[in-house]
Every structure is written in structure tokens, then in C-alpha cells.
Symmetry: D3
Subunit: 229 residues, 6 copies
């Protein structure tokens, strides 16, 4: 069951309306590395997880991503200001001015509608965790790009918070990975000679030889905070 509290996870504010930046920030509301995607991916993956501690973490993070989505949308809403004036939102997506009445929308910065094609779910926990670690890293990258292109101190503060939270989630997913790393698709890894070959199909340039010496399943090397009940 999901519940909602009207208080935001963190206070959101903007120095002044900025319809152009509102468009850019849409990327993290309805784009492929955005908050809705993250929430939907983790919720979808959670349904079949048997390890209760890991399932709990997935739903903790998914709830937080929904709460981030709300923060990002709140900021977009403020940045959109009060005037329908498409030419003032001079780049990308202009739907706020011709369709949604300045409401935030489930699109990326250029107007592509959010699609479940962004969501990866395999039912295999190692694969899903690697997907999530990569997704959190990409989300951080997009926040870095957005951070560089705005001077509004309140918006920067929000982005900074969200960016750091993606790092925290990244850490948590790696912690989960450590706990289950010898299961599922990580079993029976690299047993066949084909897993050790290197094919040199782009010339000039070639890799370190014809053999990959040590085909092992993915494993992270940092100290861990293993999830426990």
C-alpha cells in the first residue's frame, strides 16, 4: 500500500520563474534516467523478490524515487511561472504552453512521452541489481549536466540533494549485490571457452591478446553494508 504525505521529502524552492530551465528539468521527471523511471523499475522488480531484506530496500528506494519525482515536478511547476507564452520557453518541449497549462508533464526535455521501454525487469536478481546500479549512475550524470546549466541557488540545492541520494542508492544496491552475488545469472559463469575469446572485429587496434584470462561474474570490491532484517 502506498500513502502520501503532503510535506515534501525536502523543501523545494526557486529564486524566480525560468520557463526554459523548466523544460530542461523535465528530463529528470519524464526522461529515461529520471525519477519516474527509477520508481517504476524498482517497484516492478520488487514483486518477485523472495529475500525480504532486499525487497524492503527496493521499496524504500522506490518510495523515495516517487518522492523525488514530486520534488522535481514541484520545481518545474514553480519554474514554469504564470504566463502561457511558448516563445519564452525557447528550447525543447513546448507542451507546457500549448497543452498542459503549465503543469509538469511525463515527458523528457524534448517532449518524448515517458515509456515503459525505459524500465528493465528480468526476474534475475543479479541482473536487476546491475541494472539499478547503472541506472543510479546515469541519473547522477544527468543531474551533473543540469547542475552546470543553472545559477538559481535553490534549484542547485535541490539538484545537489537528489544527486547525492542517487549515490546513496547506488551504494545500497551494491550492498544487496554482495549478498546475492553467487546466485541466479552469476552461477555457471565463464565455464565455456567461448566466454574467454576476444574477437578483433574493428581495425586498426586490438586488445590484449586472444584470451580473457579470468572470466568471473561481476563482483564489487568495496566494504559493504549488507542488508539484514
Amino acid at each position: 500500500m502506498f500513502k502520501h504525505e503532503k510535506q515534501l521529502l525536502e523543501i523545494v524552492n526557486v529564486e524566480r520563474p525560468n520557463p526554459t530551465y523548466a523544460v530542461m528539468l523535465q528530463e529528470q521527471l519524464g526522461g529515461p534516467q529520471g525519477e519516474l523511471k527509477a520508481a517504476m523499475q524498482y517497484i516492478s522488480q520488487s514483486f518477485r523478490i523472495k529475500d525480504q531484506a532486499i525487497k524492503d530496500i527496493f521499496l524504500d528506494i522506490a518510495s523515495e524515487e516517487l518522492s523525488h519525482m514530486e520534488m522535481v515536478a514541484t520545481a518545474i511547476n514553480m519554474l514554469n511561472g504564470h504566463d502561457l507564452q511558448a516563445p519564452a520557453a525557447s528550447i525543447g518541449n513546448i507542451e507546457a504552453h500549448v497543452l498542459s497549462g503549465l503543469n509538469p508533464m511525463l515527458t523528457n526535455a524534448s517532449g518524448e512521452l515517458w515509456t515503459a521501454a525505459y524500465v528493465n525487469v528480468t526476474g534475475d536478481l543479479p541482473a536487476d541489481l546491475l541494472s539499478n546500479i547503472a541506472a543510479e549512475q546515469r541519473a547522477k550524470v544527468v543531474y551533473e549536466y543540469l547542475h552546470r546549466q543553472i545559477n538559481d541557488k535553490h534549484v542547485r540545492q535541490m539538484i545537489d540533494f537528489l544527486l547525492n541520494r542517487e549515490e546513496a542508492h547506488n551504494t545500497m544496491f551494491r550492498d544487496c549485490f554482495q549478498k546475492i552475488e553467487d546466485t541466479g545469472s552469476n552461477r555457471d559463469w565463464g565455464v565455456d571457452k567461448d566466454a574467454r575469446l576476444y574477437f578483433n572485429l574493428s581495425t586498426p587496434g586490438n586488445f590484449i591478446g586472444n584470451q580473457l584470462h579470468n572470466p568471473q561474474h561481476p563482483s564489487f570490491n568495496e566494504p559493504q553494508n549488507p542488508p539484514q532484517h
Copy 2:
């Protein structure tokens, strides 16, 4: 801020696995009249609502729709059973057997990925409420179709619950509509003669004359439970 409780809104159970019905039920997880669509539409619309009582109702219902999504996904997960066997899911979408490892997915029954094209947001409260009343009615219809095609008593019970909840939401949205019905796009209604013409462009057959006598904005006639603080 969104929070999650692991207890479902209502207990979900199935008499036995039924991979074919799991596919059919996907329609209400990731289809155009499904629970995700409802949740996303109401959350998106809520960001710009100024009337706090109405905003509260939108978020009450949106939270419930997310909770319905969880119930539907839980049922699909149980109905999918434990065997990867695409030919056993003999109709529609087979992604559970070749892609998601029996996990529920954000697609409709035939495999079309969920898209934000299903979501209507206009920033105009009368229009958004009419959209929601229509959406709830359509959701009821799809549940009726699904109810007729399953004998599993637990699944029927779940569908019955969800169908009745759509009726409750429908009532609540009409209550909101009554409160604001003279605002926004309902103002300045039917003042121009073009709003009263009838064009007879499909023959044979014609309507009641050339004039629409009474072009007024939409208004519902039932007694109401007006939202209040």
C-alpha cells in the same frame, strides 16, 4: 512524499496459477485504463491545483491507485506460477516467459508498453475532472470484461473490490466537479452561435433539427458530497 506499507490495501489471493489469465490481467496493470495510468494522471494533475480540499482528494485517489497497481501486480505474479513456458500462456503478450522471468510488466495484455500518451493533463480543473470521471468509468468497464472471463473466486473478489472502488472515485470526482463547475473552461460557454449549430455530415439520418437549444457547460445532477477542509 510517498511512503509504502508492505501490507496490501486488500489481501490478494488466487485459487491456482493461470498464466493465460495473468496475461489478460496485465491490461489493468499497464494498459490505457489501468491502475498505473490512473495514478499517474491524478498525480500529474495535482501539481497545479490550488483548492487544497480538491488537491487532497486527487492525492488520496492517486495513492489508492498505486495501491491497486500493487494488488493487480501481486495477482499477476501469483497467476504466472513458477514455470517458464511460453506456450502455456497461449494468448497475447508472452514477455513474462521470455523477458521478465514471470515478473509482472508495465504492458497491456497484448504487450504494448505503457506510455504517458494515456495520461491527460490540461491544467484546467473542469476538463481534468471530466477526464477522470471518464477514466474511472472506462476502468470499471475493463474490470467487468475481466470479471466475466475468470472463475477463480479469489481473483473475482479482487476485481469486484477494484471495480467498486472505481465507482467510488467516480463519485468523488463528480463531487469535486460540482464545487468548481463555474470556473475555468466552463466559463463563457455557448455564447457564440457556432456553439448551437448542428452539421448533418453523415447521411442518411439526422438529428433533431438545426439548433442545439441549450448549450450549457457540463453539470451533473446527483446529490453531492462536496469536498471540504
Copy 3:
């Protein structure tokens, strides 16, 4: 059978080319609340309607929406002018300048391609009529947004006409609804206690109590022009 007359439903003109406004007006050619969507929704719904008077109205309106689509496209074509010059169409969708040779396209203002995901068809007449009433209301809203952002008096005149026609259609669909309001998904409404509950899932704030007093099917209260043969 469909036939075409080269005379437009109403004359369309523009004061001068305006490539930027051409982009904005694309919203009502190929967007979710646009004319193509309306035509396709009503045609699709009509195939299974048994009441001949109502079927006639659906096809009258669908034919008119196709004719509106032609008017909107004609205006876009004139507004696009004669110069391929993408930077002059300084917002949103630039396909007219790099792909379509200044031809109108089946996309919204930001370039999203038209998709049948916008079309709602349920085979249940009350639900389909509610969908159409809501769709007409949303179309009116978008025309209001577009009207506010253009000074060209000819374009304003066209938008004014189209906006008023959406009101007329809205009236006609409500007339149909009155005639069939006790059928289909409107039967067996609110008989279960679950249809009367209020779940308070967003805090703080709550609705008028725990009970919805009067869960009845939707019904409009205005005088009517019932469709008749």
C-alpha cells in the same frame, strides 16, 4: 463511405506567415486533444453502436472533426510560409524545415508522432460518451491556450469557430448520454459497500467523512436535445 469536398467547412486565412505559430498550432492537428484524435475516436467507437440515431451523431461529428483537421492543416500550411529555415521556427518541433518540406505533419507541437494511444474505445456506450465529453472539453481548453498566444485576426477567427464547435459537440454527446444513461456500465452502480468508502491516504487533509452518501451513475442535469430518427 467517406467523400471529400474541396471547399473547406469554413474559410481559413492568415494575415501573414508565422512559422513559430505554425509549430504551436500543430498541437491541434497531431496532438492528444487534436482533431485527428477526435475523428479517429468517434469513428472507432461508432462501429459497434446499435442505436442508429446515436451512431448517426457520432459519424456527423467524426466527419466534422476530419473537416476541422483539414482547416487546421490548411492554416499550418499557410503559417509555415515559403522558406525552409529551421532557426526561424524557433520553438518546438522543427520537422517542417528538415523533413516535410513545410507540409503539416501528424505530430504535436513538440514533434511527438500521433499515436492511437490517444484513442479510447471501450464498446460501452456510457463510458465512450463520457470519454468524448471529456475529450471535447480538453480540446476547448487547448484552443483557449492557443487563442491567447496569437494576434493574427484570421487565425483567431478560425480558433474561435473550432472552439465553439467543440462546445456544440460536447452538448450533443451529453444529449446522447441522457438517452442511454441507464444502460451498460451505468447499470448495477454503487450496490456494494466498497463503492461508498472514502480512503484517506494523503495527509494532512481529509474529505467529508468516511462515507459517500449517494453513489449513483453519472447523469447530467441540463435540458436536452435527445437524438431521434
Copy 4:
């Protein structure tokens, strides 16, 4: 302006309901080579055509394709029968049974929603005519595939009619092409040496030498029925 006559372009009938074949026939209602695509492509292209005789043919054919769409949808509607029973529609798209209440839908046989990505519009008449000639040829092919997989004599008769009409349209578009073949993108053809080179990038096997002897713009060799006012 578009008008509708309730009489179909040709009478449609079926020997008996056949929900599986209804699904297959959806391909020509809402698929990439289907009737809606054809109608939308020709209407979209017509907006900027200056030659009135050719513009007339485009709109003649577009109107006929809309009328074909109506015929195909009518057949699907009859083939769907009267029972919601998804397992009886044992292949492809099952939306008729879980979403549309047996109404035809704007999807292909496997449930992919119709998209304007199927429509090619360039604003260049030679290119648009070549697109249409190819589109009519593909439409014929799909009808051949569908014809082979049904024994219902009424359905076969309808497909036969539609297939032959695609041939007629193909002829008409070639007639138009002959009239304008030295214009637009057909001018300045093959003047550069790069237009005569052959690159042998797939081995083994190679073409007839390194030179294309006669790079001329496309031109058809049959006798013609040139469009005239």
C-alpha cells in the same frame, strides 16, 4: 470538407464469426500497410500540392482509403462475434476481449498501436508519389497474405476487391508521376561522379563492375492515363 454516407463503398459480409481471423485482419486496419495509414499519408501530402489535377487524385484516393478502412473495420466487427472470450482469439492481439468490448481497434494484428511513424510526407512530389506507389504495392502484398489464410467466401470477396483497388491506385499514382517526373528531387539527378560508383562492401559476391552506367531519375515505362482537369 469530409462527408460520410452510411452506405459502405462495397457491401461487407462474413459467413460466420471468426475471432482469430478478426485479429489477423486488424493488420489492414491499424498496421503499417493498412487503410488508415494510406488515408493519412495521402491527406497529409495533399496540403501542399499545387497541381490541382494531382491534388484531386490524392483526395479521391484518400477518401477511398477511409472508405476501405470502414469496410475492413466492419468485417472485423462481424468476425469478432458476440462473445468476450480472449482464449478464443487464440493468436496475436487480444485487446478486443479485454479492452474494446469487441470493437475494432487502431492496432495491427499483434496489438501495436497505430503510429504516424508509418506516414511519409516530404513536400517533394516525385518522392511522395514513389512512396505511394510502394505503399500500394505493400498493401497488395498484405492482402495476398490474408487472402490465403481464410476460407470465408465473403471475406475473400472483400479482400479481392480491396487488393484490386490498391492496384488501381498504384496505376493512378504512376500516371501522376509521369506528369511531374522532371520536377523537384528528380532534377539535377546523377550529375556527380559519386552517383555512379558501386561500393563492394559485402563479400563474397560483387555487382556488375565499378560503374553505374546510366544514373537517371526514376521513370516508369507503361502507357499512361495522365491526370487532367
Copy 5:
């Protein structure tokens, strides 16, 4: 098997970064008439071709289109320059600045993601060849549009090369067509009276009579370079 050589098919250069033109050029990387579409269409069609000489040509051209894609992407990459600055890319798609870190993307100029809906494959060689001839003609048209809107001499040189190559491919596909023109969907052409009728459904204006005198399958009239082993 595909192999890659790091040397481009032709050297690509730009006079100076031009983020706006980078956006426009995206049309031919990830748009409906772009290089990726061409490569994917010809590869997909090739799988079932039995004539080895024609299959060879399809794969020669497909490989070249992949190599064109690489050239276009290389030019976009250079034009994007080194600064993340969305407002500087003042039209269309802004994803390079908020999502891809200035990397070229598989989208069109307005940000629509590439979709396989652009690809036509029928398994019928005459139809597939007509599709390809039309596709090459459209690709030429788009390059003409792009050529007119840039002064950078290096970019113009690249576009000139690519445009001429589309003409060469067009010639090669017509050569293939000549070889197989009496097969597949070209057989049994125009045997039915319905293939000779003209329906006058758009008024005023009408075609040259009620009969199409000579309904023959498509056939090109230029001298040929027939593909041979």
C-alpha cells in the same frame, strides 16, 4: 558477419562547432529517412532473398548505410562542440545538452526516438524494392533540405557526397527491380475490373474518365545495369 574499419568511408570535417545545425543533422541519423533506417530496412529484407546477386547488393548498400550513419554521427559530434549549453542549441531536440553529454543520439531533429515503425519489410521482392527506391528518393530530399540551410563548406561536402550516394543506390535498386519485375506481387496484376475503375470521391475536379486503360505492374524505363554474379 559485420566488421568495422576505423577509417571512415569518406573523411568528415566541420569548419566550426554549430550546435543548432547538429540538431538539424540528427534528422538523418535517427529520423525516418535517415541512415539507420536505411541500413535496418535493407538488412531486414535481405534475410529471405534467394537471388544471390540481389542479396549481395542489398548487403553492399546496407553496409554503406551503416558507414553513412557513422559519418553523420561523426559530423554531429563535431558540430556539438564542447559546451553543455542547452540554450545555445536553440531549436528542436535538446537531449545532447541534458542527457547524452553531447553524444549523437538515435533520434530525429525534434527528439523523437528512432523506431522500427520506419522499416518496411514484406518478404515480397518487388514490393521491397519499390520501398527502397522510394526511401532513397526521400533520403535525397532531406539532404537537399539540409544542404540549403548550412554554409559550412565541409558539412556541405559531406551532404553532397551522401546525397549522390542515395542516387546511386536508387539506380541499383531499379536495376534489381528490372531483373525480377515479373515475379511476386507483380504477377496477376490488373486482371480484375476493379483494378481499372476510377472513383471520383473528392469534388470538384475529376480524373480522365472512369477507366484506367492500362493497369500494368510497375516497371521502370531506363537502361539498366542488371546485377549478375
Copy 6:
């Protein structure tokens, strides 16, 4: 530049036609974890890579993925057999029988058209490598699912080969990651307190405390084959 050799990377064969399995195998031709997606992701990412050794590996692997795509399509083509008979392909996508004339298509097993929404490109090398490691792991998982559902020994052999190759690519991408792991989005990791917090938003159940002790950037612990010139 891309070149093609008609010899497949590995010989492909099937024991007998199996139209149902052909549909299932489509998942790895045109699905989100399939070969086309992999090739397009690595090619797209490669355009902006400055480290020549890593760029070489990306293009080696991308070329191999294109070659895998060719193998998978060849197998589908053989499995489709020679008869257009949609009911024989009794699950999922039926386009081979109504649209493509038994040609393989760029869709997943349920008919969803391939979309560039599957492709992740960020311009940040650590993020892109993590995306690729996850993508290879998911591709392995899907091959495992497909392997379990077929008895045809030739098909099993092909899947086995492809699955092992994904492991090899996974290893190679981790080797690249080790080389650049202190760059880009991995710099300035975990410096803010927000990167160390744990939010307990799903109840009951909670993680290991309120602090993540060691928020470091991702790093793999296996021995490596670092890419070198």
C-alpha cells in the same frame, strides 16, 4: 566504415521449422535485451570516447553484436519455415504471417517494435560501462530463459554460443571500467552527508541502520585484462 562478410560469425542451423519458437527468439533480435539494442548502444556510445583502446573494444563488440543479430535472424528465418499460417505461430507476435512474409522483424516476441528508448548513452564513460555490464548480464538471462524452452539441438548450440559471448563482453567492459574508474561521474563520490543516509520509507522492515558507512564509487574486484594499444 562497416563491411559485411556473408559467412556468419558461427554456423546457424535448426533441426526443423518451429514457428512458435521463431516468435520467442524474436525477443533477442528486436527486444530490449537483444542484439540490435546492444549493437546500437555501443556504436552510439563510441562516438565521443577519447581513449583509443577502449573505443576499439566498443567497436569490436558492437560489430560482433551486429553479427549476432544476423545469426539470430538467420535462425528465426529457418524456424519460420515456409508456410504462411498464423494459427501455427500460436503465441505472441504474428506479424511474420500477416505482414513480413516470414521475414524476421525488428520487434520483440510480442510484437512491440524496436525503439531507441532501449539505448542508454550518457557521454560519461563510467556510467556507459556500467550500463553495458548490466546490459550484457540481462542478455545472458534472456538467453537462459530461451535455452530452457527449446529442445532443438542446433538452436541450443547457437544460444549457448551467444550466451557465452555475452559473458566475454561483460568481462571486457569490466576491464575497461577498471582502467577509467577514477574519472567522470566516479569523481567526487560520496562527499556529501546526503550520500550516506538511509531513508526507511517502506514498513515494516528496515536496513542496517541510518548510515551507509562507505559510499565509494563502483569498483569491481576481479583480476583484469586491461585494454592496451
